[in-house]
C-alpha cells in the first residue's frame, strides 16, 4: 500500500500542523498477566479494565447467556462486611446492609463504578474512579472476582439486571438486527446474543455458572489495561485484579462463520418500532488485518451514502444509513443499517448495493478517496475518546495479539489506503451479505 509522493505531500498540506502526539502505552507485568498503561495526567479519573477470555464463544449452544450471567453475578456478589463500605442512603432505602450490598453498589458508595461488556471471545470488566477510589474499591472487586457468589439469590438478581438490559436492547431496532445478523454469521456459541435471553437464563443453574467460571476465568489469558490518572493506585489495582484469577491458561478458540452466500439470506422479525429497519451483514476484516484500514474507508463511504446535508451532526437515530462494525472479533462483521423512517427501504438498499458494486468494479476517484479517507481517519480517532473507550481500544488490540497502540497505526494506515485497496476490499468482502428486516408489529412480512 504505497501512496504516490504527490498525494503524501498534498495530505500534509491539507491537514495542517499536528498537535502533540498522545503518549504511547507502556506494558508492565502484574504477576503473571500483562498490564497496559496509558497515562493521562490531566484526567482526574483513572480506569482499570480486565479482559478475561470468557466471552460468548466459550458457551455451548445450550448455554445461551451464561457468559453474561457469570459476569453479572460477579457484580451482584455481596461485597461482604468491610469497614470500607458505608451504607448508602439509597441502599438503606432498599433495605440493604453493608453485608448484603452487591459489589456494584459498594463500589458506587466508595466513589467509583464497575461495569462489564460481554464480547464474542472475551468479557471486559471496567473499574473507574479517582485514584483514591480505585485504591479503595479494587480489593472488593478482586475479592468478588476470586470468589464470586453463584447462589440462587445472586443469580436471581443477575437475571433481573440482565432483563432490564434486554428491554433496552430490544427497543433499539439496530441492536435487534445486529443480534439477528450475528446469529446468522457466527457459528456455535459465538453467534448467541451476548446477554442471552430470559428463557435461556432461567434454565441456567448455579452449577452451570460455577463450572463456566472455573473453566474460563484464569489469569494466563487475561490482560489488564489502565488508563487516565494512572500511578500507584492503578498499579496495585492491576495486580489485585490479575491475582484474583486462578493461575492457568484457557485454550485458544477459533471463531467459525457461515459466510454470506451469493443469494442473500433474509431474516425477518417484528418489534414495537415505528418504521422498518433493513440491515445488511457483510463479512469484514478484523482489527489487525491488512484490509482493515481500507474497510474503514468503505465504512465511511457506506455511512454517508444517501445522507442528506445537515446543519450539524445528526444522532444515529436521525440518520438514514449507518454502520455497526464488529471489528473486535476475527472474522469480523460489518452491518449497514437503513432507517425506513428516513428513506424508502428499497431505495436505500439499491443505493448501498450500487455503492458496493461500483467500488468493486473500478477504483474510486482520487477526490472520493481523499474525502472518505479523511472522514474514516477522523471517525476512527473519535472512537477512543473517553477513558472507557481508551481502555477498550487497548483491550481490543492486545486480545488480538496486536500492539496496544495499534489504533495509532491504523490511523496512519488509513492515510496510505489507495483506490486499489478499496476496490480489493469491496470485491473481497462487500459483494455478499445477509439481510435482516426489523419490521413494525403492525406490518406484514
Amino acid at each position: 500500500m504505497i501512496r504516490p509522493l504527490a498525494a503524501v505531500l498534498a495530505s500534509i498540506a491539507l491537514t495542517g500542523p499536528a498537535a502533540a502526539a498522545a503518549p504511547r502505552t507502556e506494558v508492565v507485568d502484574v504477576g503473571g498477566a500483562r498490564a497496559y498503561v496509558s497515562a493521562d495526567d490531566a484526567a482526574p479519573l483513572a480506569g482499570v479494565g480486565l479482559v478475561v477470555r470468557a466471552g460468548v464463544d466459550r458457551q455451548t449452544t445450550s448455554q445461551n447467556g451464561l457468559a453474561a450471567l457469570v459476569a453479572e453475578s460477579i457484580l451482584h456478589t455481596p461485597a461482604g462486611a468491610s469497614p470500607a463500605v458505608p451504607p448508602t442512603a439509597g441502599a438503606a432505602a432498599a433495605g440493604a446492609t453493608a453485608q448484603t450490598m452487591p459489589l456494584s453498589d459498594a463500589v458506587d458508595a466508595l466513589g467509583a463504578s464497575i461495569g462489564y461488556a460481554v464480547g464474542t471471545d472475551s468479557v471486559r470488566f471496567y473499574l473507574e474512579g479517582t485514584p483514591e477510589a480505585i485504591a479503595a474499591t479494587a480489593p472488593l472487586v478482586a475479592r468478588a472476582l476470586a470468589a464470586p457468589s453463584f447462589d440462587a439469590t445472586t443469580l436471581a438478581a443477575a437475571r433481573a439486571a440482565l432483563a432490564e438490559r434486554f428491554g433496552d436492547e430490544d427497543s433499539d431496532p439496530r441492536l435487534v438486527g445486529r443480534a439477528m445478523l450475528r446469529a446468522s454469521y457466527y457459528r456455535g456459541g459465538a453467534g448467541l446474543p451476548p446477554l442471552g435471553n430470559a428463557g435461556a437464563l432461567a434454565a441456567l443453574t448455579p452449577a452451570d455458572a460455577k463450572a463456566f467460571y472455573d473453566r474460563w476465568y484464569v489469569r494466563g489469558s487475561a490482560a489488564v489495561a489502565a488508563v487516565g490518572r494512572t500511578g500507584q493506585a492503578t498499579d496495585a489495582a492491576s495486580r489485585a485484579l490479575a491475582a484474583a484469577l486462578p493461575a492457568g491458561t484457557a485454550p485458544a478458540a477459533t471463531v467459525a462463520v457461515h459466510a454470506p452466500a451469493a443469494q442473500p439470506k433474509r431474516i425477518v422479525t417484528h418489534r414495537d418500532v415505528a418504521a422498518p429497519y433493513v440491515m445488511l451483514g457483510f463479512a469484514a476484516p478484523a482489527l489487525g488485518d491488512r484490509d482493515f484500514p481500507a474497510a474503514l474507508v468503505m465504512r465511511s463511504l457506506l455511512s454517508s451514502v444517501l445522507d442528506r446535508p445537515t446543519a450539524t451532526t445528526l444522532p444515529p437515530a436521525f440518520r438514514a444509513v449507518g454502520t455497526i462494525y464488529g471489528y473486535d472479533t476475527a472474522p469480523a462483521q460489518m452491518i449497514v443499517w437503513i432507517n425506513g423512517a428516513r428513506i424508502d427501504a428499497e431505495t436505500g438498499l439499491t443505493a448501498v448495493d450500487a455503492v458496493v458494486k461500483a467500488a468493486a468494479a473500478k477504483p474510486v476517484s482520487a477526490t472520493v478517496l481523499s474525502r472518505f479517507k479523511e472522514s474514516a481517519r477522523g471517525e476512527w480517532t473519535l472512537e477512543s475518546v473517553s477513558l472507557d473507550e481508551r481502555a477498550r481500544a487497548i483491550a481490543n488490540a492486545v486480545t488480538r495479539g496486536l500492539d496496544p497502540d495499534v489504533a495509532d497505526d491504523v490511523r496512519a494506515a488509513i492515510g496510505r489506503v489507495t483506490a486499489a485497496d478499496v476496490q480489493r476490499v469491496a470485491k473481497k468482502y462487500f459483494q455478499r451479505f445477509d439481510v435482516a428486516l426489523v419490521m413494525p408489529r403492525s406490518a406484514g412480512s
Partner: protein, 447 residues
Amino acid sequence: MSGAPTQLRAAVVAALFVCAAAGGALAQTAPAQPAPTPAPATGVLPSGVTYELRPDPAQRAAAVALWYRAPSTGFGAPAAPGLSRLAAATVAGSAPITGTPLGQLVERWGGRLSVAAYPDSVAVTALVPPDHAAQAVRAMTADYFAPVVSAAGLQLAQRDAGEDAIYRSFGPEAIEDALGAALFADGPLHDGLIGTVTGLAGIKLDRVRAFAERAFRPSNAILVLTGNVDAGVLAGVASRAGAAKTDPESAVAQTPRAVPAPVRREGNLPGTGLGWIGPPISTEADATALDFVADALFAPRTGVVAKALGTRTVLVTGKFVTYRNPGIFLVTISGDDAAAARPLVDKALADAAKPMSQAAFEAARAAFVYRLLSEMETPADVADTYGWYTVEGAPGYAPAEGGTRGRYFTLAASLTPSAVAQAVTKYLSAPPAVVTLVKPAAKGTST
C-alpha cells in the same frame, strides 16, 4: 428495478467515480504555529473574544467550542422559542464565502458538530481529530463572527430543529421545559427552550440573520479549547473586519413567580413536573449542596428514589440547574407507575430536609463526586463545563477547573449533612411549581 432506483444507482456511481467539487474548503488552511508546551490559559483577544484554553495532550481528540450569551427566544419581542439554536444551526448549514458549510466541513473531517441552546446562552461545539483543531478554530470563528445566513442554511436548520423538537417532546426534557412557565412570569425559561415544529418553521430569515449578527459578535464570544490542542491555534481566530469593539450582551431578566402557577398541557409524554426556584450561581455553597441532593436522590439505579421505586415502570429524573440568577431544581415523573411514584418522591425530598447519617452522607458524596467527574471525560464534556460556567458568570467555579482541588470540589468536600439539610429546607420545602402533561385528546402527536 423501477426507474427511480436505476437513476439513483447511476447517480451514486457517478458520484463515486467523477471528481466532485468537494473539499475545496480544506485548501483555505495555513499552518498555525503551535506553542512548544501546551499550558492552560485564559484571556481576551484583541477582537474581544474571551478564551479558555485547557489542553490535554494525552487526549485523542480536540474540542473547539464557541459560547455566546444570547436569549434562546431572541432579542426583543415577540419571543421565538428555539431561535438561538436555529440561528446557530443556520450559520453551520450556510455556505460561507470561503466555501463549504461548517457542518459539512466537520463531517468530512470525521468530526462531530453540535449546537446546544440554554435560556441565556447558545453553544457550538466541534469535536475533531487533533490535526484539524486549527482548521476548526479558523472555520468556526470566521463563520460565526461574520455570519452568513442563507435560505438554504435556514431550511436545513429548520428541518433538524423540527426533528429535534419532536424527539425531545417524547422525553422528560419536555416536562422540564413546561416547568419554566410555572416558575417564571417572563423570560426565556417561561417561553420555553424547545419550541415547536410549527413555531420553528415560522421563523423568518431576517429575524435569524439579525439575531446571528448581534449574538455571534467576537466580543460576545467565549472560545473554549480543550483536549489535544495547543495555544498556537489562537493565531487562527478570525476577527470581524470593520466591527467596532462592543460590549458583550447582558444577562437576560427573568422574573420568578411569587406563587408558582400550575400548568396543564398536552404533550407526547404524559407526566408530572415539580420545580423550585434555587440559589443563584454566586451562592456557590448552596448551589453545590443542591447538586449533591439531586444526585443523592435521583441518580439512576443507586439514588434514594431509584432504590425506593424498585421495579416500578416509571422514570424519575431530578436535577439542579446552576443558572446565573436564579438556579432551578427540577423533578420529572413519567411512565405507567407515575402516580405511585409521586409519594415516594415527596418522601425522599422530605427526608432530605433532615441530616443524613454521616456514613450515608460520605457514601453519597463519594458517588456524587465520581459521577460529576465522569461527566467530564471527553474534550467536549470539559468544554461544556468551562463554557457554561463562564457564560453564567462564574468561570472559577467550573467543576473542571482545578480538578478535584478546584473551587467546586473543595466546596463539595466541605459539605456537611446539616448544611445539605439546611439547603433543602431553604429551597425545596415550599410547595413546588407543578406541571401536568397529558396526551392530546385527539389521536396523534403533539408538535
